[in-house]
Symmetry: C2
Subunit: 274 residues, 2 copies
């Protein structure tokens, strides 16, 4: 199903660069059409240098109702919005902007809670678990705080830049009570392992972690959204691990973003319909 | 049919204010979907004060492929584009902008040729005809030049502001060989009468011309696009006149704009399918 676009349709732009392989427009437009919402999501390719002009221009569009924000704008958008949702301040990134009727833009981030929700919807709970998170970049930061907030017992964060891993671990630890460390990308002894690096997007990427040491009881989550499973997921499956690709997180964050944008009914109906 | 929107979809924005009753998005999106073109038209409400910011912002959008321009921006857009199509310079207005790959914006106007094409498709030819045009505003100007170029013998232009009518008549006369006058809104003795004023959009508007003096042999064209016929068209029909509402012009200019934007196949297929 595709949306019917009229002069009164509310516009939601997905901005990023590159944007060609973005999946949000198809997902959101299907949900909009099913809910008979007079809204449409379009992808807009905007590079780093163009963001400031783009934002000033978008503020002149009366029927722009929101923006979904992807790379490379998730951090830059922090300084642009007028109001920060608490999670956006904590994570230091924005993946959705709600354009209020009074002209104010409110920024929030649901990458982390979307990942946790996606895991929970597939029966993977975090309460009391030991989690290894590989990658302390934008997505990794969001996931770290959400994993801790969902009740993980411990969180080990690994990054090519050990200082970045340590800083994130310290910030997460401050929120308590989850114990957070910086450590190696060694999955042994963890209940859940999450790849939040881009490694695996290209077929010849190295493994993001030492997959030889995966235990069959460990759940392996790879947030990369591709039609083919990543090498990490294939290896984990061959070892008998439960695996989740990026789809549940992508769906989870999209539904949370829609709720934030005022489409609570879409999120409610989606889960009720499963 | 509605378009399928992905990350690679080319964006065509219709800008104007007000924009709620705009019909172009539905028409273009149906044509895009039928032609399986990876393109979408969305309406963007942009007021006069926001145009400069909006344009600067849109130049940062890599997959913006064009703009359709409606009130109140048709004249202001003249100073914004990088290249003017000859008709746009002549008419002094733009209703479509093509965003070239090299970053240049090319502006053109098809309101006039769209009106003439719409008439021709309904069997109303202009060659050798005497035409009364009421309204020398943006649409009127475009129609005046196109009517003359289509071979009308004479063109009488009427406007509430007689100076505006006279100026337009002089400009049209310069293009020759059509004889152009400024005159009264009196339909008597004309083969074709065209209302290019907004009178008739609201039910309690006065008549744009002296409809009591309409001859049954006169063709009456009202460029207003509404689901209900205007009072002028109802009166003309009751007198036995052939009438055309704004739909043929709207369709004609949309197809010409699509050709200009690179969708020659859509225009060709549309007329072939009739």
């Amino acid at each position: 199903m595709h949306p019917r676009i009229t002069g009164s349709t509310r516009i939601y732009g997905l901005i990023g660069d590159p944007i060609k392989s973005a999946k949000s427009p198809m997902l959101l437009n299907r949900l909009f059409a099913e809910a008979q919402s007079d809204a449409v999501c379009i992808a807009l390719q905007v590079g780093t240098g163009g963001l400031a002009d783009f934002v000033r221009g978008m503020r002149a569009v009366g029927n722009l109702a929101g923006l979904l924000v992807t790379m490379p704008h998730k951090q830059s958008m922090l300084d642009i919005v007028d109001v920060l949702h608490p999670t956006a301040r904590q994570v230091g990134a924005i993946n959705v902007v709600r354009c209020e009727r009074d002209g104010r833009w409110v920024g929030a981030v649901f990458d982390g809670s979307g990942c946790v929700q996606g895991m929970q919807r597939h029966g993977v709970t975090l309460l009391g678990k030991s989690v290894l998170l590989v990658g302390a970049g934008g997505s990794g930061r969001a996931i770290a705080f959400a994993v801790a907030a969902a009740g993980a017992r411990s969180l080990t964060i690994s990054d090519l830049d050990p200082r970045r891993a340590l800083e994130l671990a310290q910030q997460v630890a401050k929120e308590g009570p989850c114990t957070a460390y910086a450590g190696l990308a060694d999955p042994a002894g963890h209940d859940i392992v999450i790849n939040a690096t881009p490694l695996g997007m290209n077929p010849d990427d190295p493994m993001p972690l030492d997959a030889q040491r995966l235990d069959p009881a460990t759940v392996v989550v790879d947030i990369i959204t591709r039609s083919e499973p990543t090498a990490l997921l294939l290896e984990a499956q061959s070892r008998g691990c439960q695996t989740l690709d990026g789809q549940p997180m992508h769906l989870g964050q999209a539904l949370l973003a829609l709720s934030f944008l005022g489409f609570e009914d879409i999120e409610r109906r989606y889960w009720a319909g499963l």
